[in-house]
């Protein structure tokens, strides 16, 4: 009997101790920022571009932060990427939570629906990458230029459903370029659309250029033009929308932007920014970016703000159609 009560004390005490230690983990408010791990929220599913960028950059960032704290990436998905950003918005502005957002997807969502917060109030940290888009067709397609597209009635463009970035891209691209398109919705993403283009189920699609590098090399797909202001280095023979006379269409690009909760103190913001700048000069990271054709493009402060404003303006014009 005596031995039993001793066991009770041991187990109970151990449990209480562990419990106390667990509850006490978030009491870190001091001068010496950062003192504990920083959470990097990925608003989209594991395996996609956002996930890959985050999981590659977060550990590099840990290297350049003071106090050797860890930056841990975690997927918080839902509502087409809105939930993750909303979690950042609601987090304490203590510099221990940051998160990626998909622009213009987020801007479109806040224009067309009630998402419960104003993305403009978030503390902008940095734009980490821009994924340039291009209009792809099958290499066997009869459509060979923008003019061909304009002449064709009801060009079938494969895309995801309304609410995702790709839908907005396809719609704004058609409107700005004057293509009479029929959007074939319901695809899960790029990987579902590639075989659909090759089969001829759809005539083309607005897709990420660098991601599809290998499909251009293998001769399965062909970009007709890129949504960039200059010709892209990957495809020097392919015209860009600016030279085709439609510079507005350059907003059809996917901006991966990093934000912190509203009201983040400036000293902490600066520490995070510095770590990011250093990370983007990290040799290994740059090498990786080149090797795996995942371009990096760091923009901060005014430059970043200008991109956001431009997108908000152009997509704002098509607000009614995007609803």
């Amino acid at each position: 009997m005596r031995r039993k009560s001793w066991q009770v004390f041991l187990v109970g005490g151990l449990a209480l101790m562990l419990m106390a230690s667990a509850i006490n983990t978030h009491e870190a408010y001091a001068e010496n920022y950062p003192e504990k791990d920083i959470l990097w929220i990925i608003p989209l599913r594991a395996g996609g571009g956002y996930d890959t960028y985050s999981r590659r950059i977060a550990p590099v960032m840990s290297k350049y932060l003071p106090n050797k704290v860890n930056v841990g990436a975690k997927n918080i998905t839902g509502a087409g990427g809105v939930t993750g950003v909303s979690t950042v918005f609601k987090s304490k502005p203590d510099g221990y939570t940051i998160g990626l957002a998909a622009y213009p997807g987020l801007a479109v969502a806040s224009m067309t629906m009630d998402i419960g917060f104003d993305p403009n109030q978030l503390t902008p940290l940095a734009q980490i990458a821009v994924s340039e888009q291009a209009l792809f067709v099958s290499s066997k397609s009869k459509l060979k230029s923008l003019d061909d597209l304009k002449k064709t009635k009801g060009v079938r463009l494969g895309t995801t459903s309304r609410g995702a970035s790709m839908f907005s891209f396809s719609l704004v691209a058609s409107k700005t370029l004057g293509i009479d398109s029929e959007l074939v919705t319901g695809y899960g993403g790029t990987s579902d659309i590639i075989p659909a283009i090759m089969r001829g189920d759809v005539d083309g699609a607005v897709l990420n250029l660098t991601q599809l590098k290998k499909y251009i090399e293998s001769g399965d797909l062909k970009p007709l033009f890129t949504f960039t202001s200059k010709r892209h280095e990957l495809t020097p023979d392919v015209p860009c929308v600016s030279e085709l006379g439609v510079p507005e269409a350059t907003v059809v690009q996917d901006y991966k932007m990093l934000f912190a909760p509203p009201g983040l103190p400036k000293d902490r913001l600066d520490i995070l920014k510095k770590a990011l700048v250093d990370s983007f000069n990290d040799k290994e990271l740059l090498e990786w970016s080149k090797k795996s054709s995942m371009p990096l493009e760091l923009k901060m402060d005014a430059e970043m703000k200008a991109e956001i404003d431009k997108m908000t303006k152009v997509y704002g014009q098509y607000k009614e159609l995007l609803k």
């Binding site: 599913r45 594991a46 395996g47 996609g48 996930d51 890959t52 999981r55 590659r56 977060a58 550990p59 975690k74 997927n75 918080i76 998905t77 839902g78 509502a79 087409g80 809105v82 939930t83 909303s86 009630d114 998402i115 419960g116 009801g154 079938r156 459903s161 309304r162 609410g163 839908f167 029929e182 074939v184 919705t185 319901g186 695809y187 899960g188 990987s191 579902d192 590639i194 075989p195 659909a196 090759m198 089969r199 189920d201 759809v202 599809l212 590098k213 290998k214 499909y215 090399e217 293998s218 399965d220 990786w288 090797k291 795996s292 054709s293 995942m294």
Partner: protein, 499 residues
């Protein structure tokens, strides 16, 4: 590098001590994460990614393959023992695996699962290797009309699975499809039933749904009935059961091959998840079995079908992934992410430029499946004891782990609440004589059916006959009719016999 040269290079690599350790480590992680509901190999892989940056890509692939290969078998352990599908691909395993456990035949069920999983995986990988040269043509075979026919095949099983009370079974299927309608319409993007609640915009998540449907409803059921053990009786005798399970797989050879083939085929089609492969194989097995009435009551045949299909699927979904850079499943999407993190660019050229990596994955999967199955066969006797532990200890443990899993699947506490709601719903359905299986089938396949139906129309510019103009969908459609009519004919035959 030629196909076979790369094969031998990767094979030698696989048997280097360090790589063997990686595969084994991956296998352990895969088994543990498979067992735990809500933690799939997707979570496991994401967790491992940052640790593998410094590694040689090939060693990384052995580690990933280890996780992916062992995961479905890990999931079947909890499906069989505690009615909790450890991963989405084990849902159909619950239907017969758990009733076997209740009968005291957990060892046999685990034996079936271990054997069918291992052999099914090898089957899928062999098909993969055979199809690599024609990967482009294979992927191009499947468009929305073909897709729709496969899905209808699965949906047709709602009729077959409506047991005891046809109307209740059918209503279950309808309810499942209605639940799947919540959130954005995949076609128009309009939000159905829930415009004001942001949580529902992306629809109901599969993992909390199945955790509620199976694990929590069983927790409630066991508490209500006041049973003291999961297994009602212990089967004593010279057979330990496990060996009997191994023999079952060979006893139902035809079912095994058919299910593996279906699993591989569905795996090849990008965009259809593993849960679908599992269901379609299970229902086809049911429809073609000599004893369809035994499905759902703990027939070994059902476990053979479900478990061989979900492992064979892995090989199938690897085909578009490595052959064409298009992920055949969610796990494969994460694997492609891992390629990029290692500086490899996935796409149609991977098979030419990095053939050794492709073989490393194949060998890794083979080794991990062999390890997992061996573990399963050896450990089955110990695992079986779970079904003889007192229920009052099992219940809180299962509940705690399931609720944690429902949350951790995507870091949403509302998912946990949804799992609880579905748990109660499912319990009351069962209590009132509704089969849960039709509800789950309706939920899993409903949305896919909607997407492929409308896409077929859009792609063909509104031609309603698109389904009958191509040979493959037409064949599938005719097969579907046969499968639907067959049971009635059989029943007639049986009636004649008896009279």
């Amino acid at each position: 590098m030629g196909l076979f040269e790369a094969m031998t290079v990767a094979l030698f690599k696989a048997f280097e001590l360090q790589n063997l350790l990686y595969v084994s480590l991956g296998t352990i992680i895969g088994l543990v994460f498979g067992c735990l509901p809500g933690l799939s190999s997707v979570v496991g892989l994401s967790l491992l990614l940052p640790l593998t940056f410094g590694m040689d890509p090939m060693s990384g692939m052995f580690l990933y393959a280890g996780v992916m290969g062992a995961n479905p078998f890990g999931g079947s352990i909890s499906a069989i023992l505690i009615n909790t599908p450890g991963t989405a691909v084990n849902v159909a395993t619950c239907f017969d695996g758990y009733p076997m456990t209740q009968r005291g035949e957990a060892g046999r069920a685990l034996g079936i699962s271990a054997t069918a999983s291992g052999l099914g995986a090898v089957f899928g990988l062999v098909i993969l290797i055979l199809l690599i040269p024609v990967v482009r043509q294979t992927i191009m075979l499947f468009g929305p009309p073909e897709f729709l026919m496969f899905i209808l095949f699965g949906l047709s099983s709602i009729v077959v699975a409506s047991r005891g009370n046809m109307i209740k079974g059918l209503l279950g299927g309808g309810l499942g499809m209605l639940v799947a309608c919540v959130g954005r319409s995949p076609i128009t993007g309009a939000i159905r039933f829930s415009r004001d609640i942001q949580y529902f915009w992306d629809g109901i998540e599969l993992i909390p749904f199945v955790i509620g449907m199976f694990a929590l409803s069983e927790v409630i059921h066991l508490t209500v009935t006041g049973k003291t053990k999961i297994a009602t009786r212990k089967i004593e005798g010279k057979i330990s059961g496990v060996w009997e399970g191994v023999k079952d797989v060979f006893r139902y050879k035809l079912c095994f091959f058919r299910s593996s083939a279906i699993g591989t085929l569905i795996g090849i089609i990008p965009g259809i998840g593993g849960a679908t492969a599992n269901f379609i194989a299970y229902t086809v097995a049911m429809q073609t079995s000599r004893h369809p009435e035994k499905f759902g009551t703990g027939t070994p045949e059902g476990v053979v079908a479900a478990e061989s299909a979900n492992n064979a699927k892995e090989g199938g979904s690897l085909l578009p992934t490595v052959g064409f850079g298009i992920p055949g499943s969610v796990e494969m999407a994460v694997l492609l992410g891992a390629f990029i993190l290692h500086g490899l660019v996935p796409g149609p050229l991977l098979i030419k430029e990095n053939l050794d990596i492709v073989w490393a994955i194949i060998w890794g999967l083979v080794i991990s499946n062999v390890l997992a199955s061996t573990f399963g066969l050896l450990a089955a006797k110990i695992l079986v004891r779970v079904s003889f532990i007192e229920v009052s200890i099992i219940i809180p443990v299962v509940a705690a782990i399931s609720l944690t899993g429902a949350y951790a699947n995507r870091g949403s506490i509302i998912d946990m609440l949804m799992a609880v709601i579905f748990g109660f719903f499912s319990y009351f359905m069962r209590r009132n004589g509704f089969p849960v299986i039709t509800l789950v089938i309706g939920f899993v396949l409903g949305k896919l059916a909607e997407v492929s139906f409308f896409q077929s129309l859009m792609v063909s510019r509104g031609d309603y006959f698109v389904f009958f103009k191509r040979p493959l969908p037409l064949t599938l459609f005719l097969l579907l009719l046969v499968v639907l009519v067959l049971p009635f004919i059989r029943q007639k035959g049986r009636q004649k016999e008896s009279s």
